[in-house]
């Protein structure tokens, strides 16, 4: 009796020794990495919360607390609202086109064929290429001269040359086209994974029950892809609301700021105009709107699940 209690206690002590050693090792490994990442991310995040309430025009001096003044400017000068709204509609347009086109491409690639790999490579390679390395081609293609770039093809076909950068429509068109060209690959692969993850016996059972093609899509494919769609749109919203590199390289906000977006303005206020306090306030506004959009989307998704 005493012997068993004794071994049990020894076992317990050995066990707790082991847990203590594991605990020490876990902290020893996790803390340095997490503290280092917090230093580079959490500290700037908190500093950014403060920055929005200051006036700060040059590096080297110190930010001066001015309370809500930057936010008052943000809401009273109509330009900021316009830029935020344009960020939303241009970002959402690009995201919507990307989601639909990637889904069509995924349907087209959801077949058994050896040549499929080649097509998949072709649509994916733009995504592993840097944005800064591929936009130069688009700049060359959009040359306004009649004998240059796309205009050369247009005039060869009998059309008149287009001065692309004078038209808001064309600039938005090319920004969205570039966005889709660059980002359609991963979205298509994720859709494809979802399509292939649906149990094929479901379709066979539906066919036996006499379901037509659209009924199969409605009751098997769409419910089966719900999580995939949620993932693509959720990550897409965060990306689209911060899209500025495409704008910066392809349109520079032209014509006359008609394709300018808030994220690009934040970049310019921060790194070119050194209006750092205002840039901080704009960042907070865009960050809050992005999070609201993402949460709103999640809420809609959840509500449609509950129904």
């Amino acid at each position: 009796m005493t012997a068993t209690i004794d071994t049990m206690q020894r076992k317990k002590r050995r066990h707790s020794l082991r847990t203590r050693r594991e605990m020490r090792r876990a902290y020893l490994i996790l803390l340095p990495f997490f503290l280092y990442i917090a230093l580079w991310n959490l500290v700037p995040l908190l500093y950014g919360l403060y920055l929005g309430f200051t006036e700060y025009n040059a590096l080297g001096s110190s930010p001066r607390w001015i309370g809500l003044s930057n936010f008052k400017t943000f809401f009273s000068v109509p330009e900021y609202g316009t830029l935020l709204w344009r960020q939303i509609w241009m970002g959402m347009l690009a995201l919507l086109c990307n989601t639909v086109i990637s889904f069509i491409l995924a349907l087209a690639l959801n077949v058994n064929s050896r040549i499929k790999g080649l097509f998949r490579t072709a649509i994916y390679v733009p995504n592993v290429s840097a944005v800064s390395a591929t936009t130069a081609v688009f700049v060359a293609l959009l040359n306004p001269l009649a004998n240059q770039g796309l205009n050369k093809i247009i005039t060869a076909l009998g059309g008149t040359a287009i001065t692309w950068s004078y038209s808001q429509f064309w600039m938005v068109f090319w920004i969205v086209l570039y966005f889709v060209w660059q980002r359609v690959g991963p979205a298509a692969i994720i859709w494809l994974g979802g399509l292939q993850g649906i149990d094929p016996s479901l379709y066979e059972a539906a066919k036996v029950d006499g379901a037509n093609f659209w009924q199969q899509v409605r009751f098997i494919t769409i419910p089966g892809l719900k999580f995939i769609a949620m993932y693509i749109l959720l990550t897409g919203i965060i990306g689209a609301m911060q899209m500025f590199d495409v704008v910066m390289f392809i349109s520079k906000g032209n014509p006359f700021g008609q394709t300018d977006v808030l994220m690009y303005r934040i970049y310019r206020d921060g790194f070119i105009n050194f209006n750092l306090g205002m840039a901080g306030a704009e960042s907070l506004m865009l960050g809050i709107v992005t999070v609201i959009f993402a949460l709103g989307y999640l809420w809609l998704q959840k509500r449609s699940d509950d129904e």
Binding site: I29, F33, W40, L45, A108, Y124, S132, A136, Y231
Partner: protein, 296 residues
Amino acid sequence: MRKPAKILSKAIWIAIMSIVSLLFAYPFLYSILGSLMLKEDFGNMGTLLPMPEVVTLKNYAYVFSVDGGIAPLLNSLQRAAWYTFITVTMSVLCGYVLARYEFRGKKFFIISIIAAQVVPSVLTLIPSYILVSRIPFMGGNNWMGQGGHGLINNKLMLYLPLGWGSLLWVFLFTQSMKSFPRAIEEAAEIDGCGFWRMMFRILLPLQGPIVAVIAINTALGNWNDWLTPFLYINNVADSTLTAWLATLTSNLQQFGDKDYPKVFAMATMAVIPPFLIFLFFQKYIIQGIASAGIKG
């Protein structure tokens, strides 16, 4: 009757997909052909694509010259290698500990990994820059972080920042440990294998595929990340290939001398390594997106 119809529909599918693929490849073809031209010839080129009358490698000679692209090229390679090393190390060690050990605060670590993934990066863009410029005792700064430019324009900025996006790979490794048999670790422990030896001799090789997913995606991501070096460094010798290309592409839209072929040669050099990695390791890249998708 059924068979010819099937062949016909397959032929149409191949035709359509070939056209789509060509459209996707068009900018690359344009860039490669353009890079083989003389600057003077670029104005009068073919209708559909730039057709070099005189093929020249002059632009590539520039990319590999000492005052041309060789420094940024090497910086790009070193930067990608460094971040791959640190991310793999972090993911394996932290991922293992989070999957296997029981300790107080474990939940906090896991939740903070997930929460970090939804913070928009716009929130840290400007404040990071200010804080980096005000690091004390660096770049002429006093102990208050004033008077100098901190780490701005310092080559260290190619290697120091670690974004919290990288924590996603820790999470991925933790998940992959769930299907890894504990018996292997227990057997190794009974044989007297220590923690670090087990990590590097047993876990790393046996978890090869997931480590490859992390390594390849990190390498590609950092090679293509032009923004960080572009913001913090503005001299060519300390910059990276993709960051310098951002400067060159921006300059193309300004008035003045435009050397498209040179930019295209540089761009082609920046695209070739990721392209080759994609060709040989697409399995891991695709698995990376797929497993990131499971999270959502």
